[in-house]
């Protein structure tokens, strides 16, 4: 049971060591990876027996102390963290970075592990603030003015979101008398008048949504993710955004959020994909795509059935893998050619290393959900988990949009010679690419077999292939004839107003649900 305390705290210790013992940075990296692997392995074994474990720090009962809980969700995200950590550290192996960078990296990983196990609303607030600050500093690491501005915008909006969240915590504490999620759940069943839940949950959801990459709330995301360095983008897009989703998962287990999450999910999915289709700058396109993919996860959480929740986990895991791979590969492609635009990258594809292009291809296949790659598994489970036709249509639309936006990358993949890529970077691509290809067997570790039996059928394969085929065929005409989209909302002032409007949207959705 000590593991769930050790995982975050050891990373913090490593972070401090990174800074004070500068020559041993690489040794610390290897040690951290090893220890993470061992601890997660032990945790897997324990959870396989017990289902979930909890610990109350200091041994004080959960009504006064802080409780930490580990379950299947935290395990899945823990493994995702491990994969991304390994890949990113390998990617950065040859680069000359200051120990400061590695310290921030370890702090980020520690905070991520802490979020996975957190079970207390205020504890979540503190961890999320640490996560905000660390990712803020990581985005601005290059000190270029556009990076600084993107990260400052991120800090402004995320901090505003956390202020709203804290107000929500105050409401919850005032009425429920506790901040422990489990105790709140029991309070909710005991109390007769639970009108306050309306305000509390809309405040909490709004605050977290700003960090979770949901379209109307996280308008800072495209700039921040596109202007950070590749490894940081991969971490932010693959991991940090997911932490918001993890918290939403925890909240959804207690508060009645399903209807509003479905609407928010559809909204962020469709708006995100529309923006992704019209963007030609590769990293911006990937960032918008992140916004849309969060839609899948929210729809899964909102649906709430067991299969859909498994689908959410599956897709979150898969998305972390392929979005991390895509950002890393896109980073090295842009580095090799000096071009950012997809069209220009295609013109200069001979300068991009073959391995980078292969990595981009695998990432693309993963994200468009070609069976049996990673994206397909999550989509299949999500599809099987929902009963309503509206949701299924939205899911199909999302798939179609993703294919359309990624079909433009296809000309990159002509088999011809390419530039040089260091071996460590190829290896780091491999770490992420392998699980994407072998995703289906991997899922058996955390998805029960009966869920697969109910969700896999031949019509699903056909539907998926039809969507992909249509997407590839229609990609060019759609992208060419798309109207110009308003980008004003991405500015700081407007984004703050939009967050506030988003609060009322959530509130009204909860009111009428």
């Amino acid at each position: 049971m000590t593991i769930i305390v050790l995982l975050p705290l050891l990373h913090f210790v490593f972070a401090v060591l990174c800074l004070s013992w500068q020559r041993g940075t690489r040794g610390i990296i290897v040690a951290a990876l090893l220890i993470d692997t061992i601890l997660l392995g032990v945790l897997f074994a324990v959870l396989d027996q017990a289902g979930s474990i909890s610990i109350t720090l200091g041994g004080w009962g959960r009504n006064v102390g802080i409780e930490l809980v580990a379950d299947r969700t935290s395990l899945v995200f823990g493994f995702l963290t491990l994969f991304l950590e390994g890949s990113i550290l390998l990617y950065l192996w040859r680069e000359h970075l200051q120990p400061y960078f590695f310290m921030l990296l370890h702090l980020l990983l520690g905070a991520v592990f802490a979020v996975l196990f957190a079970q207390d609303l205020f504890n979540i607030y503190v961890i999320m603030e640490l996560l905000t600050l660390v990712s803020f500093l990581l985005v601005g690491y290059g000190k270029r003015p556009y990076q600084i501005w993107a990260s400052l915008k991120y800090l402004f909006l995320a901090s505003l979101g956390m202020g709203i969240y804290l107000l929500g915590v105050a409401v919850v504490y005032y009425h429920a008398g506790t901040m422990n999620l489990g105790l709140i759940a029991t309070q909710l069943t005991e109390q007769q008048d639970t009108t306050w839940v309306l305000l509390a949950s809309s405040l909490l959801v709004t605050g977290i949504a700003v960090k979770a990459g949901i379209f109307v709330f996280s308008l800072w995301l495209p700039a921040a993710h596109a202007s950070a360095s590749p490894a940081v983008s991969a971490l932010l897009s693959g991991l940090v955004i997911k932490m918001g989703v993890v918290v939403l998962l925890k909240l959804a287990a207690i508060f009645p959020l399903s209807g509003s999450l479905l609407v928010l999910g559809s909204l962020t999915g469709i708006l995100g994909i529309i923006y992704a289709i019209t963007t030609y700058e590769l990293k911006y396109m990937l960032a918008f795509c992140t916004l849309s993919q969060i839609g899948y996860l929210l729809i899964g959480i909102g649906t709430g059935s067991k299969v859909a929740l498994s689908g959410t986990l599956c897709y979150a895991f898969a998305h972390g893998l392929f979005k991390g791979l895509l950002f890393l590969a896109a980073g090295s492609a842009i580095q090799a050619t000096g071009k950012k635009d997809i069209r220009e990258l295609i013109m200069e594809r001979s300068n991009i290393s073959l391995i980078t292009r292969a990595a981009l291809l695998i990432g693309t296949l993963g994200i468009i959900g070609l069976p049996p790659f990673a994206g397909f598994c999550g989509k299949a489970l999500l599809n099987a988990g929902t009963q309503s036709y509206v949701t299924q249509i939205v899911l199909a639309l999302l798939s179609f949009g993703t294919v359309v936006s990624f079909a433009r990358l296809i000309p990159l993949f002509r088999f011809e010679g390419g530039g040089y890529l260091p071996r460590t970077k190829s290896l780091s691509f491999l770490i992420l690419a392998l699980p994407i290809v072998l995703f289906f067997p991997l899922t058996h570790l955390f998805v029960p077999a009966w869920q697969w039996q109910t969700s896999l059928n031949i019509s699903l394969f056909i539907k998926n292939l039809v969507v992909i085929g249509m997407g590839i065929l229609l990609a060019r005409p759609i992208a060419n004839h798309f109207p110009h989209l308003e980008k004003r909302f991405f500015r700081l002032e407007e984004a703050a107003v939009v967050i506030l409007s988003g609060f009322f949207l959530v509130f009204l959705l909860l009111l009428f649900a």
Partner: protein
């Protein structure tokens, strides 16, 4: 009564901070508004824990009554430090931006960055 007054004031402060964040174009003033937004939530928390004729939660004798709720105060202590960290770090970033763009006007900076991207 006292508690509700505190809550009302803190919510009004929250609104003032929000308006400042949205309408003041100056980044430093925006930052201070952000500080106000976070600070107002702390006032809300503390006043939720308060009570009329209460005693500060420092035990002086054996009797056990009349103390105000200590938990929100402990939470607010953390929140104040977090707020400070945000304000200090964001200030450094604003300074770096001013060094480059010679302006604290958010819209101008945004405009300049857009132009640089198009170049």
């Amino acid at each position: 009564m006292l508690m509700i007054a505190g809550v009302i004031v803190s919510v009004i402060l929250f609104g003032i901070g929000l308006l400042g964040m949205i309408f003041r174009r100056d980044l430093i003033i925006k930052l201070l508004s952000l500080g106000l937004v976070n600070g107002s939530v702390m006032l809300c928390l503390v006043s939720l824990g308060s009570r009329a004729n209460g005693i500060a939660p420092i035990i002086r004798g054996p009797e056990n009554a009349g103390y105000v709720n200590p938990l929100p105060q402990a939470l607010v202590l953390s929140a104040i430090v977090i707020n400070f960290a945000i304000l200090a770090l964001a200030l450094v970033f604003v300074m770096l931006l001013v060094e480059h763009y010679h302006s604290t006007d958010s819209q101008r900076i945004e405009h300049e960055i857009k132009r640089e991207r198009e170049l």
